[in-house]
Amino acid sequence: MSIQPVLLWSDVLLFVLMASIGGLSLWARRQDALRAAWARVARNPVAMSAATVLAAFVLIGLLDSVHYRARLPAQPGAETRYSVEVNSALDAVLADLRQRAEKTYSAPLATHLFAKEALENSAQREFPRLKFGGAHLGADLAAHEFDIAVRVSRGCAAGMLLWLLMASLWCRLADLELIATLKQLREGNQGSGAGNPATGAVFVTLLGILLLLGIAISLGGGYHVFGTDKVGQDVLYLSLKSIRTGLLIGTLTTLVMLPLAVLLGILAGYVGGWVDDLIQYLYTTLSSIPGVLLIAAAVLMMQVIIDTHPDWFATSAERADARLLALCLILGMTSWTGVARLLRGETLKLRELEFVQAAQAFGVGRFAIMRRHILPNLMHIVLIALVMDFSGLVLAEAVLSYVGVGVDPSTISFGTMINTARMELAREPMVWWSLVAAFAFMFALVLAANLFADAVRDAFDPRSSA
């Protein structure tokens, strides 16, 4: 076997999360109320096009969560050894981008380095050629712009072709006439696509994603699409790698705090008395500490623990992963208070309703009532909290990394990208591309998440549908 699979803790949790989402959606299909609410989301064009973008991000993140260690070239007589470097499936897909490192900064699509250097065979300082960016042009630099135009149109064509292929496949499955459907789509006919107004939006979004993908692949074959950073790494590669970190922080944080928030919120609301007082005291105390400061204090202490126990981690990837998880845990510990408070209030209301009192009259036990009658009626709040928190957490990661209490500096994330790129702004002329790339990717992810979260909230919140 030429690779050794590596399962990082965050991978495990991410796959558990995916599996539980799958399981929950199977369960939700059988619940009429939930199915109706999700159907409302599915008919919302904005939400579905946001979901398409999110799905693309999740796909990249999942690819980046399959980790392995490659086998080192075999030494005769020695036992097989594996590289200390932990790579992911995404690294394998992007091997080209990862390995074609330049010496230092170069602008997007450039053929030359960004800074002048003294060349060997001339006395003057010149911009040296890039090792990979535009290397296929040879000496024919005049063809640079033409080459870019050709590659862009080729990428567009490929993306378009792929899209048509997918559209026709879908039409075949949905038993529709392809040409007629496309015509309807172009005319903005809301009735197109098997009666769901969102289908058109999904396909338009898909077209956009595929076009960008086609252009990126076709340009990326010969250039650094977003330029290179200080040590010559491709910025597009860094941006794609950052997605996993953002997704992990956005989802795992809520996941780790959810059991605690749900348990304490329901207990406080249903049991009441001194239990209620104690739990309220607990979350009032925690929430009275400003979030950033509590996180900073906790992260500082976590750094002390990690630094004084270097023997806990076999590879640096494992250490970075542990730090990422600890950050999720800390963020979760500081943010569960809001959800617990909401759940307590809602439980107080539910406790007085007839069906709960009927259950009490039948002699159903306390915990059975909480589990069977209260919890299912709180699920919409939990779901809304989950999707609403996501975008805020992705943004918070960047800020925390800037403050110095974010992810491990060796973890590629939007925060670390921005943090290193910030220093380069002072250069003249400015190195703007890694900053812009990080912000653009983050904007797309957060905007899609916000739009989707709004639609989910509108569909599930009983107050807003009234």
Partner: protein, 325 residues
Amino acid sequence: MLAYIIRRLLYAIPILIGVNLLTFALFFVVNTPDDMARMQLGVKRVTPEAIQKWKVERGYDKPLVWNAAAAGSATLTDTIFFSKSVRMFAGDFGRADDGRDISREIGSRMGPSLAIALPTFVLGLFVAISFALLLVFFRATTLDFAGVVLCVAMMSISGLFYIIGGQWLVSKVWHLVPISGYGGGLDAAKFLILPVIIGVFGGIGSSTRWYRTIFLEEITRDYVRTARAKGLPERVVLFRHVLRNAMIPILTGVVVVIPSLFMGSLLTESFFGIPGLGSYTIDAINAQDFAVVRSMVFIGSVLYIAGLLLTDISYTLADPRVRLQ
């Protein structure tokens, strides 16, 4: 009223004790002072003498909560818990790693923090409420829709982008104001104007959306229908009736942050080089100055609790129906 305030103040005490115990546990129990010394001194210079010296310099060489060697009340007072945690209630935060008195440092840095945070807060409130009222005035039109879309888009942009982008555009390209720095007196205005504008701009998206939801909820009430039935113009309905009645939900979210304005803003202050409490905190985090971070956590929660109290009092001022029990 007075009795109510006193009772609320008494409620605050157990919470502050809880915060104090929590920070004590976080900073001294999770990691022993020895661990912190080892981390700060680095791997190379760690000798038992160096660790001991580091601990003595900071007063961390005492027992945690119980000093068996001391006599009388000193068994409790000559400990880390008493000297580092209990004394915070008296406003004594000890010394930072550079030897300066933290309380004095905080006192001198509150001014610059407030000079940025207060105008940002007032201006932001004004802009967001006017913008939200405008959207509600044109509700269910294309303008409203475009406004909401703009808000969501602005919410989705990282706060760092506003700061970095604004600094680049205004200071580097247009050369309107200095990039960073701070001066005393009127001179400070030219350093403050950009951070304030950026702060207002960055907060508009989410707060406008929030106020718009509040106003839209308020506008379905009976008194609004009555006002319209009387023939009042929509302008009067919105500004005189809806705005006033929406005060309660607005106050809930707004008043609580007022005391925390003293803490300043971490990001803005460090980007613009303003010597306030926000940049003090960031510097302390980067230098791993545990004493300063611990003090800021404590002050932050004191201010937050003060904010909660102010919120309750402001209800009675805004709405005579609310009676404090």
